[in-house]
């Protein structure tokens, strides 16, 4: 009798065999340390390359120099002024854009007339780079805060509209039919069924619009801003202070990380039911 083809555990005299395990793998597991190690490794390699002179600091400042630029900002007290100025612009612009965007987006999600009228307008205006409209915003809103808030607000508005009305579409129709069958008035169906049902989509939209607001703050602060992270980055660019430029960019990405953490927490609370 021929031996059975057995891999892994050895065959036994009576012909029985243990079945070799062949499952497992292909299933991403959380590895808490890995991102941290990768981060440290990349920064370390970068710093080492700068020390060894492989990266001339004319073209790429070392991490240590960027930290130094941060230190200077902290020391001179300009850091809080820059962050404060940008945050207030981002917050105001985002709030205006989101409020208006939700109003229009929900209207488009609920009313056929609003959708028929709004969709072509939104589709036509959404892809326009808001930076191209900067001169117009300056004519309309001046070179003070309003034009900066408006630039961010406009950038946030359109994605919010689209997120809101597609989120309305994703609310199961049977829930609306259920509301009707229980005699709920239309406004109650909107506030108790459509809006909470659209919340996951709307919150996902918030993540996108928060990033857009951060991106646009640099453009918004091109014009007439004394303080602000964007103004700081631009002036560092003008002055060829590459270490400060990267410090500013780092500041923006830290801000992005903070915003995303906050939004994550909001999602966990608001969408507890998922």
């Amino acid at each position: 009798m021929p031996e059975p083809d057995v891999r892994g555990a050895g065959g036994v005299a009576d012909g029985s065999a243990t079945i070799a395990f062949r499952g497992g793998g292909f299933q991403p597991q959380p590895r808490r340390l890995v991102p941290f190690i990768v981060f440290v490794l990349v920064i370390g390699l970068w710093q080492a390359a700068s020390w060894r002179g492989w990266l001339p600091d004319l073209f790429m400042p070392s991490p240590w120099q960027i930290v130094g630029a941060f230190g200077d900002m902290l020391h001179s007290g300009t850091l809080t002024r820059h962050v404060g100025a940008s945050l207030s612009r981002i917050a105001l612009g985002w709030l205006f854009g989101t409020t208006a965007g939700l109003a229009v987006g929900l209207a488009m999600g609920i009313f056929s007339v609003a959708r028929a009228g709004g969709l072509p307008v939104v589709s036509a205006l959404f892809p326009i780079p808001k930076i191209a409209l900067l001169p117009l915003f300056i004519l309309w809103f001046g070179i003070g805060e309003p034009s900066k808030v408006a630039t961010i607000g406009f950038g946030v508005f359109f994605p919010t509209v689209i997120a809101a009305y597609t989120a309305c579409d994703s609310v199961p129709r049977n829930l609306i039919r259920m509301g009707q069958s229980f005699g709920l008035p239309a406004h109650a169906i909107v506030w108790k069924i459509v809006v909470p049902g659209a919340m996951p989509g709307i919150l996902a939209g918030f993540r996108i619009t928060a990033s857009i607001a951060l991106i646009l703050v640099v453009a918004a602060e091109m014009i007439g801003a004394e303080y602000g992270i964007g103004a700081f980055i631009l002036s560092a660019g003008n002055l060829m202070q590459t270490d400060q430029l990267l410090a500013g960019v780092t500041l923006l990405s830290l801000l992005g990380l903070a915003v995303s953490t906050v939004l994550g927490a909001v999602e966990r609370i608001v969408l507890r039911w998922r």
Binding site: I143, G144, L234, M240
Partner: protein
């Protein structure tokens, strides 16, 4: 060996020797703006001064001062000629480029950059460069020459620059628009734009920078590696450049007994050359209005360059370790002006 073969060989040798003769012309490149202030290099090319020195010069045009310094620092161009800014000093401080000769400067009697007040602010009493404190002023960029000029003014007139609200608007066009829309009280603008603004009636010229704070505005500079490795070429280049500077000064810098500028036949002869390279193409009147003072012998206001760097450093706009002495190579031009006493 046939006659035909010999003929072919001879032709080949002839062609080769022609190539060698052509390559005897040393190739160099210079990064510049298509501005009237770049005139000396246009003149040197057009009148064959570079060729006389055995140089074949290629122009690399940019639309802002910053990229010119970057191009030279990165070795994409051998020379650069443009205004001196905070960004320029930061780049130069890394050791990649050195100033070798003068370009434009603010010289008493030669209008170049004006202080302007908006119509409304002027009517409200903003009539003098001493009245900048408390005003909102448009400039192009943080660390630009306009920023520095205001800084010098504040030192001369004894006010704090922090009492002036600066609005960086990125471009001359935006500055003009802000002045027009009365979104700022005043601005600094080049002569050309200043005259136009006053003529259109939305702004008033309340003074000229040359009346307040003469200074070295622009320079010719070279890559450090070019100076080290091709020293003779730099000398030849500067020689041609100085010859053109002398022509330029002769034509554009003459003044009559009353101190008024006069433009004679020599200017008329140079204007078409300048018009050929400057974009957008200026009218002869615009060329004259923009013809800044350029030292006939290419001499720099050396002390002022030290002052500029010190000012930018005090503002935190230029790194502390930038040393003026290391970014100047004063060996190519004789008798620089106003050297600092050391």
């Amino acid at each position: 060996m046939s006659i035909r073969f010999i003929a072919a060989l001879a032709a080949a040798i002839l062609a080769w020797s022609a190539t060698v003769a052509a390559s005897a012309q040393e190739k160099v490149s210079i990064a510049a703006l298509r501005f009237v202030s770049s005139s000396p290099i246009f003149i040197a090319l057009d009148r064959g001064y570079f060729k006389e020195q055995g140089l074949e010069v290629e122009f690399k045009f940019f639309d802002a001062a910053q990229p010119i310094a970057v191009a030279v620092a990165a070795g994409d161009a051998d020379f650069g000629i443009t205004g001196l800014t905070g960004g320029f000093y930061n780049l130069a401080g890394k050791g990649a480029l050195k100033i070798i000769a003068a370009q434009s400067r603010e010289e008493p009697g030669y209008d170049f950059v004006a202080y302007l007040a908006s119509k409304k602010a002027f009517d409200a009493g903003f009539t003098d460069p001493g009245k900048f404190p408390g005003k909102t002023i448009a400039i192009t960029q943080t660390g630009s020459t306009f920023h520095y000029m205001l800084g010098m003014l504040s030192e001369k007139r004894g006010f704090k620059l922090t009492d002036v609200t600066l609005k960086p608007l990125q471009s001359i066009a935006n500055v003009t628009a802000a002045l027009k829309g009365e979104q700022v009280d005043g601005a600094l603008l080049p002569a050309n734009n200043a005259y136009a603004a006053e003529k259109a009636g939305f702004a008033k010229i309340i003074g000229w920078v040359h009346q307040e704070t003469p200074w070295q505005l622009g320079a010719l500079f070279a890559g450090t590696r070019v100076i080290e490795q091709r020293h003779a070429v730099v000398e030849k280049f500067v020689a041609a450049y100085l010859k053109a500077c002398a022509d330029y000064a002769d034509a554009f810098l003459a003044r009559d007994a009353a101190g008024k500028r006069v433009f004679g036949d020599k200017a008329e002869a140079l204007i078409p050359i300048i018009q050929k390279y400057v974009q957008p193409k200026p009218s002869p009147e615009q060329v004259k209005a923009s013809a800044s003072y350029i030292d006939p012998k290419g001499r720099l206001l050396v002390k002022n360059i030290y002052e500029q760097i010190a000012w930018y450093q005090a503002q935190g706009m230029v790194a502390r370790d930038v040393d003026a002495a290391k970014i100047l190579d004063l060996s190519f031009v004789k008798d620089h002006l106003d050297p600092p006493k050391r």
